[in-house]
Symmetry: C2
Subunit: 430 residues, 2 copies
């Protein structure tokens, strides 16, 4: 017990130190003091190699800064709040392409002119979480109004009428769903509902809908999580249907764990741990070189994406969150063991000892393939039948600090309540 406590304390110290260093990197290199907002195309040493502003990344960094400011005493600093506010004002002024319409640009010039618009909901989603979090730290209601109105628009696009997104309706496009959509909506609801009884109530039905949609991606008699399914919850034909993204399934896992915790549903929790944590981890972990593969084909065909066997930063940061959360909630030491395995691989391979922050892209063997710290990578092209891209292929001030901040908080809570987590009710079958 004491040994486990020491191990948790050691991870907490290591994670907290890493969070300090990562935040320092973004504070030092990413602020655009002339136009507001953030530079997000940063080289290994923080050098700005392009000044385009991706709305996803602007929104995520505003959100991250506010979260840190709100939840960590040591980050409650004026420079963090001021930068978040400057980023928020930049978004308010420039993100929406043709106000009063809600559609946001995907990428803006440094001074805020729109360069590209995606026919999806994701720019708008990151805009929403930024505005809601800004409201939480500043108490200025204009931010919250913006967040709630945009959320209404997003829900309308997803559940009522997607025509405002601008995608053509074609007779050969299957009625299908990427797991990214209900995941993103669930993430938004968690954000907006926090300590807000009225919104919790408003979104209750939607929250259940999202959870049910995500759960339907468990296919093949419970033996696989598939990224894309038909609207009526069946496997789709071809590569599109067989496509798997283990890191994304694991990320969905911790979204769902939070849902199960709110519901107090331990049976659902056990199901989530089996299907969304252990199943993709065991299929996705590279037993030869370590790390999680990026994409897999459920029938073992060679995936058609060039990066399928690469090790990317975010599946690993999401797995750290998911397995530590799974352990915190269930007490199953097998999950803590996997957290250790993933976190050791991650700190060893992704952390840049010289310049700080993490590398984003390693080859299969774990060697650095791209040494950028912030990337302008255009969205990952979706399988052809789905115009919805996987919303996570942009490095920036988001996945890494979110992971470290959440892990630091979870480790703190575990240490606080003693070395034995509450009521072990789930033992994994593997």
């Amino acid at each position: 017990m004491e040994k486990e406590r020491q191990a948790l304390q050691a991870w907490k110290d290591r994670v907290a130190k890493e969070l300090d260093s990562v935040v320092a990197f973004w504070l030092q290199h990413s602020h655009d003091r002339e136009h507001g907002g953030f530079f997000t195309c940063l080289g290994r040493n923080g050098q700005v190699y392009d000044d385009l502003k991706y709305v996803w990344l602007q929104g995520r960094q505003v959100w991250m800064y506010c979260r840190l400011y709100r939840n960590f005493e040591r980050f409650r600093r004026a420079e963090i709040l001021d930068a978040a506010k400057a980023g928020g004002e930049f978004l308010l002024r420039f993100a929406r392409v043709a106000p009063p319409a809600k559609k946001c640009a995907f990428v803006l010039t440094r001074d805020g002119r729109p360069m590209k618009v995606q026919r999806t909901i994701f720019s708008e989603c990151f805009y929403t979480i930024a505005m809601n979090e800004l409201w939480r730290v500043t108490k200025e209601t204009r931010y919250q109004n913006e967040a709630v109105e945009m959320m209404d628009q997003i829900i309308h696009w997803v559940r009522e009428d997607p025509s405002g997104l601008g995608r053509p309706q074609l007779s050969g496009t299957p009625a299908s769903e990427s797991m990214a959509v209900p995941m993103m909506l669930m993430n938004l609801m968690d954000q907006l509902s926090e300590e807000d009884e009225a919104l919790t109530k408003k979104y209750a039905e939607l929250s259940d809908w999202c959870a049910q949609r995500i759960l339907k991606h468990v296919q093949r008699d419970g033996k696989a999580v598939l990224e894309n399914i038909s609207d009526d919850g069946k496997e789709l034909p071809g590569c599109l249907g067989r496509h798997q993204n283990p890191g994304h399934a694991i990320e969905a896992g911790w979204f769902l764990l939070q849902y199960a915790r709110k519901k107090g549903d331990t049976k659902l929790r056990a199901h989530i741990i089996d299907k969304f944590l252990l199943l993709p981890f065991h299929s996705g972990w590279d037993s030869e070189h370590g790390g999680l593969f990026y994409f897999q084909d459920v029938d073992g065909f060679c995936p058609t994406q060039l990066e399928w066997d690469m090790k990317l930063w975010w599946p690993h940061s999401e797995a750290m969150i998911a397995f530590l959360m799974g352990y915190s909630d269930s007490g199953d030491p097998a999950l803590l063991k996997i957290f250790n395995q993933v976190a050791e691989y991650t700190f060893h391979h992704f952390h840049d000892r010289e310049f700080g922050e993490w590398y984003g892209y390693l080859n299969r063997e774990g060697k650095v393939a791209l040494n950028i710290k912030g990337g302008p990578r255009v969205w990952h092209p979706a399988p052809p039948a789905l115009p919805t891209p996987v919303p996570t292929l942009l490095t920036g001030c988001f996945h890494v600090p979110r992971c470290l901040a959440m892990c630091e908080q979870m480790l703190g809570a575990l240490l606080h309540r003693g070395s034995t987590p509450a009521s072990p009710t789930h033992r994994s079958s593997k």
Copy 2:
């Protein structure tokens, strides 16, 4: 002399044998006898792993089959012509999304329903070369009418009004040009003008325009070919402006060599060899592991594309064509030496000894990364400011047989005219 002749003969035999084997692969595995058209998602052994039909690949395969039928005695076989015609009929029936409008789908279901439309000209371009070549082998004028009308539409989109492509006009999008557009147009004109005086005359001004546009991509005082430039021929800011694709520049090189030959312009030829063959070859060749890098940043920043250091099949097939053509036209033995170097690397690394055809995707070290033979890979996302994707990231029955067929013909011509090529007038400076 005799030794060089023997070397050319050996390459001719090797290339012809390889062409036979590649054509056999597609004949055996790719024909959809039920719906017409071609399966293009083929695994290493030819197994169909998806039945989607990419219009680019349908058009390219129809074109390739007709070319082989028309130019090679040994391929003048009914099964090749019949398959080309079935592919052509499939395109005529299904490629256009909403006839009489000309816009074509990017991908169709197996039975021809549209799944996705690209907001670019490329599906239409490959449709056009298919129809023109079908007309050449069948003499049926309906194919040629279709080709010429589509060509008019494409020219209108490029030079008059792109609004029919469906891309939004945004204030932050720079007025810019991807080299792919004038290259593609030049390729179409070469196809349509072949032994056609009226069309040669019709497209003469456009042909010069394309050549001038491509030549403007030589930037930095002649020290680099950049993929994207401003509409007025200047370097663009950021990653977009610094982006280089050595294989694509070399491909542009052989398009331009054909243009210079028609013009009888030996000074232009020397310029093309220096700037579009030698410059990208020397910057793009990996001196450590061999092979051509896929992408580079002209200032040496780390490219932001995951595949930047991979070795892809098509830059190598284009380089084989370009250096053999450069040698044929100029007589410079330095170019033959580079042809040898590229061809040896290519035959050694890309050729699949067990199942035939070539691998498409090797990692930097030359190890097979994806073993598929035909790929459903969605277009390569363009840099954000340019909605024009690089039009060449789909494996299929095109680059490899086109390279082998052209090299076989060029080697035959070199051997026919004797071992000393005509009038050496260019010696490379490197």
